[in-house]
Amino acid sequence: MGTLNDLFLTLASAIRGLLALWGFPPLLAAAVVDIADFVLVAALVTVNIIVIVWLDRRVAAFFQERLGPNRVGPFGLLQSVNDAVKLLGKESIIPVAADRKLYKAAPLMIFTVTVLLYGFLPYGKGMAPVDPDLSLLFFIALSSMTTIAILMAGWGSNSKYSLLGGMRTVAQVISYEIPMAFSMLGVVMLSGSLNLGAITEAQRGVWYIFLQPLAFVIFLISSLAELARSPFDMTEAEQELVAGYHTEYTGMRFALFFMAEYGNLFGVAALGATLFLGGWQGPFLPGYVWFLGKSWLLVLVILWLRWTFPRARLDQMMKFNWKFLIPLSILNILLTGVGIKLYQYFTAVGR
């Protein structure tokens, strides 16, 4: 069990040892291991996207008393691969009036951000590919970059629908970052660190969802808005804006937006699992299995919400954010602070 848990770490040090044996300078050896990390992370992103797209369609189907994809591959698992191949084969159509540089750069940027985000996640003890002291801050900062990419797509497409979609998304994403960040502040205060690995370690005794239930709910709601998932998906509301900021995209560029959305979905779910559900903590099974399992659990919850609720209206959503969610998250910080001080006082008194 111990070996299974440390499988990847053992592999990494074995590779480093081997390279040192062959006379590689340590910096180069570290670089090779980093490249291997990157390849693994990229593979994880791809596999995750394929699985989650499949999960989305099957879950939706079962909710709606139908079957969903079940022809391509066992249980329809290869359906997403099929779709990706189809999209790859499509003609690259760029609208004549579009701003070519912006139009082409937007999907690249948005998918790059997604892959970058996966680099910060602690898949197990000591298994975060990139592990700075402020990894949580990096994560939040990077995920905000999607806003720029969306604006690029909306503006660059030179279409009213796209522009409307882009503007709506920017307004929505920027607004909901505040309660998201505030809800995470409670967790940071409890664990005393901005490092995702340290936060996971600090949940050895009890998971933070029990200590910070309010923050968890706020986090869930604001992450739905961050991801522009239903019920907050008016940015890509097919029924109103045809497809929002990616109306004018087709083929592989469209696929990149699509993959970025589902990639971010897992990324945010994994963040939630790390912050509130104890990350890789758990008995018997290796850490990364726990991590993935908890992340997929949150993914399922998010999918469930999407298929149940109708879409909110943009201004109602904004009102909800500014007049309800932000004050609530500030209240949470207040309560957490008071709670911590009381805890310290009582433990000091008890001693």
Binding site: E65, L164, P310, R311, R313, L314
Partner: protein, 376 residues
């Protein structure tokens, strides 16, 4: 000094209205309807309805078909409630030619007509919620509709364009064991509708999107000649089945639901209530239908005396009327359809200013228009 700079800043922040076409190809315009919206940001400043994309020249077509040949065309007007269209046409023909309909045929007309009304209302509520992205709820209502369409297929052989109600009665009698199967389907319908109702009607987000949106007051609705569930949701009790009863409706015990808010939610909810009333009607009609012929004899080559006739029927969308003018030949001299959706849609440009695009989508969905009927 500071005053002048403030004025300059205000001038520099000039905003621009823009025009957005909602339709004719759009996922939520319920057909090929085009709304040219003038927008300031997301708020509608003015709205212009542009129709005619589905104009098939049906009224002109009618002049080169015999009366019986044109009957199947009538279910293509309001294709979601085809039987009710055919009923209106049959009534007009019967008035023109003085044809009497046997009693059993009247009951069968009520059964099929009300089943068709249920199916049409199910389409309306489900397409309204899917316009608001409640995809699962849409699926529930459509699955319920499948049961109704199966019943209609049993009786008429066809799921949508039934060609069942014709001048003189109906084309076929009910098949063996229909009553039992219909009762079962109606029970299932009730349970699915309850699921749908619980999922949608109390949902905060749904209420936020429909309550108080697109309010049409009673007086405005009357001024614009609205009929059908739309005006009943605005508080005006107008239903031909009660106010000018035709066929055997007076013999049944049913209510006409009435709501007074006039907003999108009321227009949605009243159709759920009407489905329940239609279920009652179908059950009563199934129980009370007497034996007898189902069709009066109408000569194959039918030449009604010169004259004209106008007959109305309460369709799923309002009062639908047919005007037939005969010149003594086998083909109508003029056939005109008085379409409720055509008139209902006239009120949209009046209530749109001030709505956002999202509200407009919700309001349009709640008006339940069918372009086949509007454009003919």
């Amino acid at each position: 000094m500071s005053d002048s700079t403030t004025v300059e800043q205000e001038d520099a922040l000039e905003t621009q209205e823009y025009t957005l076409n909602l339709g004719p190809q759009h996922p939520s315009t319920h057909g090929v309807y085009r709304a040219r919206l003038r927008l300031n940001g997301e708020t509608i400043v003015s709205c212009e309805s542009i129709i005619g994309y589905l104009h098939r020249g049906m009224e002109k077509l009618a002049e080169s078909r015999t009366y019986a040949q044109f009957a199947p065309y009538t279910s293509r007007f309001d294709y979601l409630a085809g039987a009710l269209n055919s009923w209106g046409y049959a009534l007009a023909m019967e008035k023109l030619g003085g044809i009497e309909v046997p009693e059993r045929a009247e009951y069968l007309r009520v059964i099929v007509g009300e089943l068709q009304r249920i199916a049409s209302h199910l389409v309306m509520v489900s397409s309204m919620v899917i316009d608001l992205n409640a995809v699962t709820a849409w699926m529930y209502a459509f699955t319920a509709r499948e049961g109704i369409l199966d019943l209609l297929e049993e009786v008429t052989g066809s799921r949508m364009n039934l060609n069942y109600i014709v001048a003189g009665g109906v084309t076929e009698d009910l098949p063996e064991g229909f009553t039992a199967r219909a009762e079962k389907t109606l029970d299932e319908l009730k349970s699915r509708l309850d699921d749908f109702d619980r999922l949608v009607s109390g949902n905060e987000i749904f209420l936020g999107r429909t309550r108080g949106i697109g309010v049409i007051g009673r007086d405005l609705a009357l001024e614009y000649g609205m009929t059908g569930p739309n005006i009943r949701a605005s508080g005006e009790r107008l239903d031909l089945r009660k106010d000018a009863p035709y066929s055997v409706y007076p013999r049944f015990d049913f209510e006409v639901p009435l709501l007074s808010g006039g907003d999108s939610f009321d227009r949605y909810y009243i159709r759920l209530l009407e489905i329940h009333e239609s279920v009652k009607l179908v059950r009563q009609a199934l129980g009370a239908a007497p034996a007898g012929p189902v069709r009066a004899k109408v000569p194959r080559v039918w030449k009604p005396a010169p004259g004209e006739a106008y007959a109305q029927c309460e369709s799923a969308r309002g009062i639908q009327g047919y005007h037939l003018v005969s010149d003594g030949s086998v083909k109508p001299y003029r056939m005109h359809l008085c379409s409720p959706s055509f008139v209902n849609i006239g009120v949209l440009p009046v209530i749109s200013p001030g709505l956002t695009i999202q509200d407009f989508v919700s309001t349009l969905a709640s008006m339940d228009i069918v372009l086949g009927e509007i454009d003919r």
